[in-house]
Symmetry: C2
Subunit: 487 residues, 2 copies
């Protein structure tokens, strides 16, 4: 049962070398915000840019860091940088605990539950609460600044939950491609794989069919040693296939490749893991045309398609299937989260999707997690704490989703209210709207960003109006005193 990393696509434009200017700072956080048993502290990294900021109470654009090094998110969330000048906004990117260099227990952080156990979304959000409360006291002019939180993927979930749980801290949330419903009982487990499949079938039925038939073809070809050797050579694998375990690894790798292609099917060249052309699925499918081929011919053809992903530049010497498709993210942290709170059921039937049939087996999953991490998953923790589909009391959230993005199947795709709205980007892959503006952007993502900007303006104006903001003065707000540093 493959589990997908819920990842932010770290593509950089091939055409240029976008890089944003910011300062790096560190903040002392409590390891446990909700109890007093563990009184340890750790150092959280955050990035800040006041280049365009209006020091007289301009808004704060806050990125809720997700499962990776925060500098990667800063580099790949061009939308915030693009619109900061127009809003005179202070830009902050906060690193999620247990990722990047914000490791609460250093290199012991993942060794046992007493160290790893504080890696939860609730603790991460509380970090952001503390950080913002602190920054508003120490940054001149920030005390009364409205805060808009942004996030993509798991970061989008955090953004939405941040507004839901702490509406006194953040005035609105742009939650891009946030699958907050990708939990047990909320979204059927088969939907995700079906949308991956549809992205390929949209190009051609034959394309999807070649992939669907490839699993049996792999089994047939790798049934004996000569077949294993043949496939190793034909697909230029870095390490020779030696038996069933390697074949399983190969299949998991392929699942990730097809899934990742569906996520990053952007309309312009991008650099995710390997460089990719514009509309990479179209490129892949242009190679996959003959589902009627026998096993070896079919796998040769499949490799032509695979090459688009693994060797677009022609510089790849061999294909490393032991390397996950998202090496720039911290797999360790996400694996722990998937084994505790972020339990996202996936299943495949091979009929309505092109994957190998695989049920969602929670018991097996849970035991596997317990063996790996010493903890049992709590599959209903997030829905119970955050509310699942029950969003009627929420306000000021834009849930944006791209119709190409398989994660949209776990997204909020309806308007909950006037201020909790769904923005659909028909041509959009995974949080395309959070990426920087690009000449090849489809009209729909330009529209989406326009809508998002309008909501941000509304939230800022409502906040200022509700708090009688006159100049840089706000009445009726809390004054958080700076706490004694008893950490």
């Amino acid at each position: 049962m493959a589990r997908h990393l819920l990842l932010l696509t770290l593509s950089l434009w091939l055409s240029c070398c976008s890089s944003y200017k910011y300062e790096t700072y560190f903040f002392k956080q409590k390891v446990d915000h909700f109890s007093f048993a563990d009184q340890d502290s750790f150092i959280q990294r955050y990035l800040i840019s006041d280049r365009h900021w209006d020091h007289r109470g301009g808004p704060i654009f806050f990125y809720a860091g997700n499962e990776g090094d925060i500098t990667l998110f800063a580099e790949n969330t061009g939308f915030m940088w693009d619109i900061a000048p127009e809003f005179n906004a202070l830009v902050i990117f906060a690193e999620h605990r247990y990722y990047g260099i914000s490791l609460p227990y250093g290199n012991k952080s993942f060794t046992e539950p007493k160290y790893s156990g504080y890696l939860t979304s609730e603790q991460a959000l509380a970090d952001y609460v503390e950080l913002l409360a602190y920054l508003k006291t120490v940054i001149r002019g920030a005390k009364n600044s409205p805060v808009i939180v942004f996030g993509g993927s798991y970061g989008g979930m955090l953004a939405a939950w941040f507004r839901i749980k702490y509406p006194h801290i953040v005035q609105g949330a742009i939650a891009a491609s946030a699958p907050i419903l990708q939990f047990t009982g909320l979204t059927p487990c088969e939907k995700f794989g079906q949308l991956v499949t549809a992205d390929f079938a949209k190009e051609s039925k034959e394309c999807a069919e070649v992939i669907r038939k490839s699993w049996a073809a792999i089994d047939a070809v790798t049934a004996d040693d000569s077949g294993l050797a043949w496939l190793t050579k034909e697909w230029k694998l870095c390490k020779p296939l030696k038996g069933k375990d390697d074949v399983k690894t190969l299949k998991a790798y392929l699942m990730d490749v097809w899934t990742n292609l569906a996520m990053v099917d952007y309309p312009y060249p991008s650099d995710f893991l390997a460089p990719l052309p514009a509309y990479p699925i179209k490129e892949v499918c242009s190679q996959l045309t003959n589902p009627g081929h026998g096993p070896k011919l079919l796998l040769e053809e499949l490799f032509s398609g695979l090459t688009v992903y693994v060797n677009f530049t022609g510089e790849t010497k061999c294909v490393n299937i032991d390397q996950q498709a998202d090496v720039r993210l911290d797999d360790q942290g996400w694996d722990f989260q998937a084994c505790t709170e972020m339990v996202m059921p996936f299943c495949y039937d091979g009929v309505n999707d092109f994957f190998e049939p695989a049920d969602w087996n929670f018991e097996e999953y849970a035991e596997n997690c317990h063996q790996k991490w010493g903890v049992y998953p709590r599959p209903m923790m997030a829905p119970k704490i955050y509310g699942g589909k029950e969003l009627s009391a929420a306000s000021n959230i834009v849930f944006s989703n791209g119709n190409l993005d398989p994660w949209s199947t776990g997204g909020v795709l309806w308007n909950v209210s006037d201020s909790v709205v769904s923005v659909i980007i028909p041509e959009g892959a995974h949080h395309l709207d959070l990426r920087g503006s690009n000449p090849n952007d489809p009209e729909s993502v330009i529209d989406a960003r326009r809508v998002e900007k309008e909501f941000i303006k509304t939230w800022i104006n409502e906040y200022r109006s509700a708090h009688n903001l006159i100049g840089n003065d706000i009445k009726n707000t809390n004054t958080f005193e700076v706490e004694e540093p008893h950490l």
Copy 2:
């Protein structure tokens, strides 16, 4: 610096022996709902009555247990019992962790932070979330029941916060005498003592003046051994006063007595710690008439007033000043909470109040807490997590406050919105509205209860209407699956 217990007044009518029928159950809870480091569990007690319940989706009335044995709250929250038949409601009282018999680590629970540290309001609320999610799956007909949460004092704070943080779990909150603003920077520390004083001064200026002068009189009289002996005898103290420490204890006891009288100044006889007459402050003040007396005469007169509190029945043999005024509550638990999250600043100047002047000294307070409990307080934890005064995103809460109740100074006394409203009970002491109906109830508390009932009806109807409740069927709600018992 005396610290007041934020307590539910456990008065029972003298005239009868009100007792409500319920069943006692137990539920296995996680010690830590927000992290995976501590995977222990404990047994929480809860009480339940389905006597008046409509099994076809009738509402659930849920009492958010506060700092004491839950049976005492069940016995002393007559309002819920009184209106349950009219609403066909299921009545549940949940015991707060670390109180009553719901001790996560048995008799080790308060021995060190690794055991005591999970006593926080956030964990307690998460207990209630888990309990309700569980009960809705196992009680026939409860799956789609709207939940109304009730609470008084700290329980009222929990009720309000429950709705604020978990609006998908509870549809509305009756937060009686809930001082959610009694935190650093939100309410001036002197307000509380000023209102206690005003309750006495309202009866007569002389009354308040006698108390104001009593502190110096005590100092003067107890300056030598013969004075200590005289006061011991005159006031019938159980243990002889032996020096300054005992005098300090005596003064703290008196502070609690005057404060408690202000809280329980009910319009009918009640039994709090000692039995009290109706309008006990009026009775006390009828004795305190001569502030011009010299020290000994003044203290003799003061004792006449004190007698109303300590010996209304005439059966008290001696006055035990080592015994707190609220022995039925679990002081240990609340002392820990006051030393961690529930840091409520109080101060007195002796001019605008009748207490001995005493500044709020957080540093001293914090060091004292660290010595006692091995933890430092986090005074801004609750305001940061729950929002303090910033309630604009909240909905469906009635904040009721009595003008006689000193805790009202930390309450929400304004209408935040159409659905977050303040109900003022001019003649009300501490959460009088939550008590059972009484022939001597003033009109204002009858009105308050009527308003509360109207809001409860509205919340229930809105919930049913929003969820397309037809008969006993609700669409668009989450179905929480029962989790594997991996506790």
